[in-house]
Symmetry: C2
């Protein structure tokens, strides 16, 4: 069995942790040792996560994102390009790797590459199947940011105004004097610890409030996302630095619901799923009050994720119909404030910036990304006319665990396709 080491712990690799081979959730009922339940709070543990991220609706209440009535838009096969699996690249640690084999070292569940809008590579691993929605984790934020920005361009929202104008409930909270733009760009001074591994962190409190994880016995905290957000306080001035906090995206989801009278799922359906001709329904996890987890609750198929990437590459134009303002895509191209990003001290993302819930590489391909924990990635590289959609179930939540492989891998592929 091939083993990998992260942070001093050893894990079987993507091939050796295949959940089908390991018989997770096999049997009627699955025996105790192979059963994955919400209540046991082990569904995000490794290797259970290799099953869970393709089956989240079986653990949580969810709301459907309907694909609409017009059938899938074609995703044509491209001409065979050079053997992508055999492409070699040097990872950030100086190790030479092969494209195809590296997928197992990053616990890839699915990867699809579009070049000039055509599918040149598409593979599925682990529990994932082409028709099965996978957790997009924080890639959800880029969907939420894009919809919010569209509403700003339409004049429905004003990004210079402060949050309580839309949500009076947040007067006195961390967002009392934060502008919508600061929330969109993650430049608020929200007092919030984002540590997945600390049971007393704000991230955990948020997970209990939203129903993402079962709260401990005797839990007496908030039971809905909105109730939780009201308790969040300001730690420092807004607008000073990039500070990535999922709660900011929850605020965006809440504002969109309040202002449009439509749920996040409905907005996704009307503005993206139906006009893009998505192939399958997606779904959004919701809290006990039915509110969307806009910071990480979207689940969708790999091919539908790729369609969204292609829409962004096409500057919001989908077969002649402008679904997203081109000016917004240009904004993302230009990126956010690189100095403020640098202040955040994210060592593995050198030179990056962040704009409207998108990560901007400022690299030679002008690439920008949607990113989610455990290795979720939508990589849009305009100069290579390339989109890479990728789902994974890495044992470690933090992107730093797979970035040293994924980032050079994407860049090398882009260079090859550009050539």
């Amino acid at each position: 069995m091939s083993m990998l080491e992260f942070d001093g712990r050893r894990y079987p690799d993507g091939r050796a942790s295949d959940p089908g081979e390991l018989e997770w959730m096999h049997g009627a009922p699955p025996p105790d040792g192979k059963r994955i339940t919400f209540e046991s709070d082990t569904f995000m543990d490794f290797p259970q996560i290799r099953w869970s991220l393709s089956h989240m609706r079986e653990l949580w209440p969810t709301v459907n994102v309907w694909r609409g009535r017009t059938g899938p838009s074609p995703l044509h096969r491209g001409d065979t390009v050079a053997d992508i699996d055999a492409l070699t690249f040097v990872d950030s640690n100086g190790c030479t790797r092969c494209f195809g084999e590296a997928l197992f070292d990053t616990y890839t569940d699915g990867i699809l590459v579009l070049h000039r809008g055509r599918v040149v590579y598409e593979r599925y691993f682990g529990s994932l199947e082409p028709q099965l929605p996978h957790a997009s984790q924080s890639m959800t934020k880029s969907y939420a940011g894009t919809l919010t920005a569209a509403l700003v361009y339409e004049g429905v929202l004003d990004d210079t105004t402060t949050i309580p104008r839309y949500l009076p409930e947040l007067s006195g909270s961390a967002w009392h004097d934060a502008t919508l733009r600061q929330v969109m760009d993650m430049e608020t001074g929200v007092l919030y610890t984002d540590d997945q591994f600390d049971a007393s962190s704000d991230e955990k409190a948020y997970e209990y409030a939203t129903g993402w994880r079962p709260p401990p016995v005797g839990y007496a905290g908030p039971r809905t996302m909105c109730d939780y957000l009201r308790t969040v306080r300001k730690g420092s001035a807004h607008g000073e630095r990039f500070a990535y906090r999922s709660v900011n995206t929850s605020v965006l989801g809440w504002i969109m619901g309040r202002v449009t009278g439509r749920s996040f799922a409905q907005l996704l359906q009307q503005r993206l799923w139906a006009p893009l001709g998505c192939e399958e329904d997606g779904y959004v996890s919701i809290d006990a009050a039915g509110m969307p987890i806009a910071g990480g609750g979207l689940h969708l198929t790999l091919r539908d994720l790729a369609r969204f990437g292609e829409l962004m590459r096409q500057e919001g134009d989908w077969n002649g119909r402008q679904l997203i303002p081109a000016a917004f895509v240009h904004e993302v191209h230009r990126g956010g404030d690189r100095a403020k990003f640098k202040e955040a001290g994210i060592k593995h993302l050198p030179g990056y910036s962040y704009r409207s819930q998108w990560w901007v590489t400022h690299n030679e391909l002008d690439a920008f990304e949607a990113r989610g924990i455990h290795g979720q990635r939508l990589y849009i590289a305009p100069k290579a006319e390339m989109v890479v959609a990728r789902f994974a179930s890495h044992p470690l939540a933090k992107s730093a665990a797979s970035d040293p492989i994924i980032m050079p891998q994407m860049l090398q592929l882009g260079r090859m396709l550009r050539a």
Copy 2:
């Protein structure tokens, strides 16, 4: 506001209890008085149920029943027949009613009539939309019975054998010496009280074990369906009389999972959803171990329910492909033991019998039915070449509350179409 009275209590009718008009689950977040949650255990109360039955996945974990890749099979419009809304009939209480208006007195959420395979009537009310799956409640049993019977015809299951051969876990339980046939025909002497309104009833214990309802504080009973079924005991001899008990269908679901190695959702997908060309995905509610609620957990669209009805009317043949053995449909046509059915003392279903999880009217239209609480109904009337699919959210669970209207209404419609 038009009020109706059932069992001495007064309720606003279907029009006056429209959940959209009443703004249930409107708002971001919905205010306390308009919020429907799983935890509060009010989602099956009236009028909340008028929203809930079209939104169950937003309250529970569920598993998808994929429609497959081949696009929907056509459901063609039929020629305009006489004005169905204006059709009059006399209900079981001697009251003359009008077809269209009676829909509001039975809290109809959707109704679709096929005549010779063509749509001659289709209406949606309340929270239901054409693409939205509605709870089928115990109509799920007819799907489970049909799949079980198909496996019997294929020789995968033997309906003369006793249950522990397939499920050794049920040795010593109520099903220790019950045959599969007795379970399929609801002729077991299972000790089980099916009272929805008695918190100490076996039905409640089952609901807590399956996660259908939130268990009371301090609940220490079984937490999965299989654990619960093991505790069920025998009350009387098997095979003596018809005794409708949802737990029998749970046993069928468990057996199919064990014997085929496929989940109920997968069997539905492979044997019905994909070959029927269903229009939308369905879904099945599951317990904490991921086991299906085969006695009532299927949710599907009205049009896909109608497709299944048409398949049964066509004796299992779907455009030249035999999806279900014709001999099985003939079995259902013939029905079960009417004397044993009569023993059950169900006064509002005179002359009925029950076969393989289908209700058989033995009426002038040779009709047979799938039936679910709160007014769910799939009415197949071969002699009128008619199929009626119907979803509802009646305040009362028991079918006796709407049968005095629905049954004469279906019969009168069938007479008109046969003419």
